[in-house]
Amino acid sequence: MAEQKNGIEPTKAAEARIPTVIADDLHIVYRVYGTGAGKGSATAALNRIVRRKPSTGVREVHAVKGVSFTAYRGESIGLIGSNGSGKSTLLKAVAGLLPAERGKVYTHGQPSLLGVNAALMNDLTGEKNVLLGGLAMGMSREQVRERYDGIVDFSGINEKGDFISLPMRTYSSGMAARLRFSIAAAKDHDVLMIDEALATGDRSFQKRSEARIRELRKEAGTVFLVSHNNKSIRDTCDRVLWLERGELLMDGPTDEVIKAYEKETGK
């Protein structure tokens, strides 16, 4: 177990370390309805209501359990851990999108989660989705218009013909993912969080997006990156948090934590 409060050796002088994100004993609990333990029939559901056993319909998932850390300006932090270990949930809580059950998160400015998937609509053309996604992220109309060409060029959607004026449901999954990433990456951020975005698209697009992420890092105060690709974590991060079952297992310099993680997972 690494020391959690000041896990990383300060690369800069101590007075330069300005915190941008402080998580203080953070707990996140999801409540899921309709998990229907037992039979899914109406009589079974009625029976549960009559017998006053409401708990069977609602399940609580304690996704993050007491995580504390401090992130500083200029840091690039990787989040690793097996599937379902609470990485994405932690990011959403830092972004203020999921309410904390207990504990608090303090942030500098408004952290943004790199992802607009949910705002886009498959029935709309790529063109309209660029506008909608940009507005949803809080850009103004003029900003979207300014960056429109850049977004479309970056996505490479129009390389094989005029696809941007077709509805998104006609896109291949790779094309859709590329457009989503391009829209999301078009904005500048204070604290930027990226959730496995590097895995989208073909080889050449992956290279382009890695370069774009390094650019964003320069502009942003702090970058968080969730990924299962240890190589892209090694390439982009100087500090790593290792989550397992919602608990912070390790917090330290990239090499140290990844080594321990690879040993544990037997890679």
């Binding site: 300005i18 998580a23 999108l97 942030t107 952290p111 909608l132």
Partner: protein, 312 residues
């Protein structure tokens, strides 16, 4: 530790403590020292209004996007925006006008009925959309940061756009049944604005309730249908009650019913034979009062739970 916290509590803002003193501070104090704010906390009401105003383009873009996406899989496409309300009116005409015969004694029954159906549908679909505004868009709420009131407002705006299509159909029907445009048609605009504010307030109340209890979406159709029959959409309440003994409070309730108020106002504005004598007393006061009350109450009620939307 405790002494540190007591002394820094007052001096932390004014004095710039040396950086090395961070070790002794609690996370909350360090956050205060570096000017960090709590993530996901609810902004104050004026700040919330400001944030909402900053997202006005998103609200309108989301509304028109939803409207466009709605029929994009259908072959006739956007024709359905006009055809759906028309078919609705036709069904009610067949059942109430022809079969049950509530048209007896109501002059200009078809314009009377169609106006009622369209105006009530506006409130009905706003409430239904509001109920699902948060619970049906959890993905969006959990992925992006924006004032959540964008969603119910956006859905109501979408219903308003839908209604404008319906009003186009209504104008054609009115002309077809021999109504001549008069200055009183202009009264339709203030009536619509007031109804829109009322709908939005109600939708925001429903959005908060529906976010906590998604089951409401199953229950609401029944409540809305009951409300529809009590609002005189396809019959004249006056004619039904004529000659029957009704307790005073029921009459007050029927006259104050916001849906009936907005329907009556629209009929008064558009239909010549629906004269001012048929309007309940103080109808404009009720229309404005309901809009103001519901708009303010709904908005504040919705804002109060702002930081809790998005939890399962």
């Amino acid at each position: 530790m405790s002494t540190v916290s007591e002394t820094t509590h007052d001096s932390a803002v004014a004095m710039s403590a040396p950086p090395s003193s961070d070790e002794g501070l609690t996370p909350a104090q360090r956050a205060q020292k570096y000017g960090l704010s709590q993530s996901g906390a609810r902004p104050g009401l004026p700040e919330y209004v400001r944030q909402l105003w900053a997202r006005r383009h998103f609200i309108s873009a989301f509304a028109s996007a939803k409207l466009t996406a709605q029929y994009s899989q259908a072959k006739l496409g956007q024709v359905w925006q006009v055809a759906t309300p028309l078919l609705n009116a036709l069904v009610y005409y067949l059942i109430f006008g022809v079969l049950i015969g509530t048209s007896r004694g109501v002059p200009d029954f078809v314009p009377f009925l169609v106006t009622g159906v369209f105006i009530f549908t506006f409130t009905q679909s706003s409430v239904m959309a509001g109920t699902r505004a948060i619970s049906g868009n959890l993905g969006l709420v959990r992925a992006l940061h924006f004032p959540r009131a964008c969603l119910p407002i956006s859905f109501c705006l979408m219903q308003l756009q839908q209604l404008l299509f319906s009003m186009g159909v209504l104008v054609i029907i009115l002309l077809g049944f021999g109504q001549v445009p008069t200055w009183s048609w202009l009264l339709a605009f203030p009536a619509l604005v007031l109804q829109f504010v009322f709908n939005t307030g109600l939708a925001m109340v429903m959005a908060r309730l529906g976010a906590k209890t998604p089951d409401l979406a199953q229950l609401m159709p029944f409540i809305m249908r009951t409300w529809m029959y009590a609002s005189g959409v396809m019959f004249s309440i006056d004619l039904i009650l004529k000659g029957k003994h009704v307790p005073g409070f029921v009459e007050v309730l029927l006259n104050a019913n916001p849906a009936a108020v907005y329907i009556d106002l629209m009929r008064f504005a558009l239909i010549d034979s629906f004269t001012a004598a048929k309007l309940p007393p103080h109808v404009w006061a009720f229309a404005g009062g309901w809009a103001l009350l519901m708009g303010v109450v709904g908005f504040v009620y919705f804002w109060k739970a702002e930081e809790r939307y998005g939890r399962g």
